[in-house]
């Protein structure tokens, strides 16, 4: 039997979750908490196996509560149930010690499975969120041999600082057309398509401004 503590500042949500869990033979909602402080007290009193934790709560957020909860109850598993779908929150939650992350809109269908998975020692992320997480992992910098001329490197450094073609032309005492041509050459040589890529390249090359 998986003993679950439900932490959410909305009583209706807690009630709904309790109802849902009540229908499962292998899990039991042992308690409910409406705030972080309450959750810590309940966790100490009830020693649940798993906490279903909302991130956004008035006062202390679920994210901030996690280290304290886990310190007091090292065996406790935390499954986040949140409205926030930004990868940033997912990453932060896992960094703080959560074992699973569930979106509220998917709760009805996924919560039971996620609880089982996490209680069994696994991890759970809403599939779409997992994909997004991978998307936003910073790329490893690809440092290439620098095929640029000195002038092109100057232009690149200025592009990386956010200058327009006009400004670059003025600063390097060249025509706007020439500045545009330099930029086109740089992009072609490096096989890059956007300014953002240019900046990344400049940075990898340790050019000023990169």
């Amino acid at each position: 039997m998986i003993r679950v503590l439900i932490v959410d500042d909305h009583a209706v949500v807690r009630a709904g979750l309790a109802l849902l869990l009540g229908g499962e033979p292998d899990m039991e909602a042992v308690g409910e908490a409406g705030s972080v402080d309450e959750a810590i007290a309940q966790a100490a009193a009830l020693a649940p196996d798993l906490v279903l934790l909302d991130l956004t709560m008035p006062g202390k957020t679920g994210l901030k509560a996690m280290p304290g909860l886990l310190r007091e109850n090292p065996q406790l598993k935390v499954l986040i149930l949140s409205m926030e779908d930004d990868p940033r929150y997912v990453r932060e939650a896992f960094a703080a010690g959560a074992r699973g992350y569930l979106l509220k809109e998917a709760a009805a269908n996924e919560v039971v499975g996620a609880i089982r998975e996490v209680a069994a020692g696994g991890r759970y992320v809403h599939p779409e969120l997992g994909a997004r997480l991978i998307d936003t992992e910073p790329d490893a910098e690809k440092v290439r041999v620098d095929p640029l001329s000195d002038r092109e490197r100057e232009v690149l450094a200025l592009l990386a600082l956010g200058h327009t073609n006009h400004e670059i032309a003025k600063q390097l005492f060249i025509s706007v057309r020439t500045a545009e041509a330099h930029r086109a050459h740089i992009m072609k040589k490096l096989n890059l398509g956007t300014r953002a890529e240019l900046v990344r390249y400049a940075h990898a090359q340790d050019l000023p401004g990169g």
Partner: protein
Amino acid sequence: MPVKLADRSVPFTVLGVGVAFALVALPAPDRNDGEIAGAAVLGVSLVALSFCWRRIPRTTQLVVPLGYLALAALLRLSDGGAASGFGGLYFLPILWLALSGDRRELLIGLVALTLVEIVPIIAIGAPRYPVDSWRPGVVRVSVATIIGFTIQQLLAETRARARDATRWSQRLESLNEVGNALATETKLQPLLALVAARLRELLGARVVAVLLPDGPHKLRFAAVAGADGHALVGTKVSRDGTRSGLALDRSRSERAASGPGEPPIDADFGGRASLWVPLVVRDRSIGVISVHDKVDGDGPDFSDDDLRLAETFASRAAVAVDLSERVARDSLQRVVEAQEIERQRLARELHDQTGQTLTSIMLGLKAVEERLPDDPTRGAVAALGQQVASAMQDVRRIALELRPKVLDDYGLVSALERLTRTFSARTGIPVDLEARLSRDERLPAEIETALYRIVQEGLTNIAKHADPTRASVLVTPKNGSVVLVVEDNGNGFDPAAAHEEGLGIDGMRERVALLEGRLTIESGKEAGTTLVVEVPVN
């Protein structure tokens, strides 16, 4: 400076003629009654003429003295060369012409006089009157000329002084009036209109305009005095390549003299002699006063004095413009802040309240669904649950558009990551985001909000108009400021064209101005668009 009989000094002129007449005509003992009567009639008619003098065209005016000389010549010829009748008073027209202050006309008179003296001699031989009797005539002519000039100089000087005094008191009055208006008038428009009107009066200019910058390439007529200029108020002229723009960019006054070689300066005014004086506040030019065509004054050109006066007015106007800009900026700032707070509140409400309520409904439906036997009702409940889930997604999307929570919690970079990803997913346009700030680096909240909104607006424009194959967003620090670049390789547009207005660029510019930053747009047909924002971070 010459004073002309044709101008407003008629009473002085009359007095001068009278005095000269009395001095020269009265002490002559050898004059007969006919001469004196003739002189009196002439004097009276001249005085009478003076009163309606201004209404007579100049060429007609010349007929009087020249006609008189011709008459004198005829008389002399008719009486066989004797100096009789009022022929002896031929000094009068010379006095008249001397007083008129026009040297050319005086010369014509003297030539005419010489002819009057010489023609009878040639025609009928030497005069029969005693040899020494020609002297009084010459003396009278000389004295009359000298007196005429002297009176005219005195009149000119008196008038010039009176005019100077009037001008100074006018200047003081006008400056005082402008100063008072500055303290009491809260609206910019009437104040600038007052500055333009007073300056025009004082400089005797045909038209005076106050121009304020409108975007980077245009100047807007904020106030115009003279030459039906009020119709121009609100219209725009180019800033690039105009003298107004030059004065503004250089923060230095410009002056153009009249003259045949000078082309018309401003298509709107056709002005020749002109001044352009920048409105400078704290070493920053915020507008320009342009003055065209000196129509009332000492010469066709504006003097150093005029320029100084215009600069004094410009400094007053600058204070007013600066103040009103700051007031406008303050209220804009309050509106922007209030709007953000309201958006934040709505987003939270949607997210926390509506979102949670929908969650509970969905959970409830799920519980109901599981307790139902496997029949159509169960399917219907499941479908309801799906609808609630999609309503939750809508709520999240709206909350995100209003104001992403991640912007408050984790800052600009995380928010932009989210924004660009959502944008790409929705539009299919890949957006390459490069933030050279670390993910957790926080900028002042108002800068984060402004930059976020600008990227939002910029991406919206790209999706609507640019049709690019890719776009990029760059955020990078640069000596004490942060630079944002939003760029695409799409259609582009002509930034100088009026097209800008539909793109919300004015709104972006205002936001950037609130942060004392600058916004640059570089674009061209088929050349993509680069939007650069640089904001100082203190």
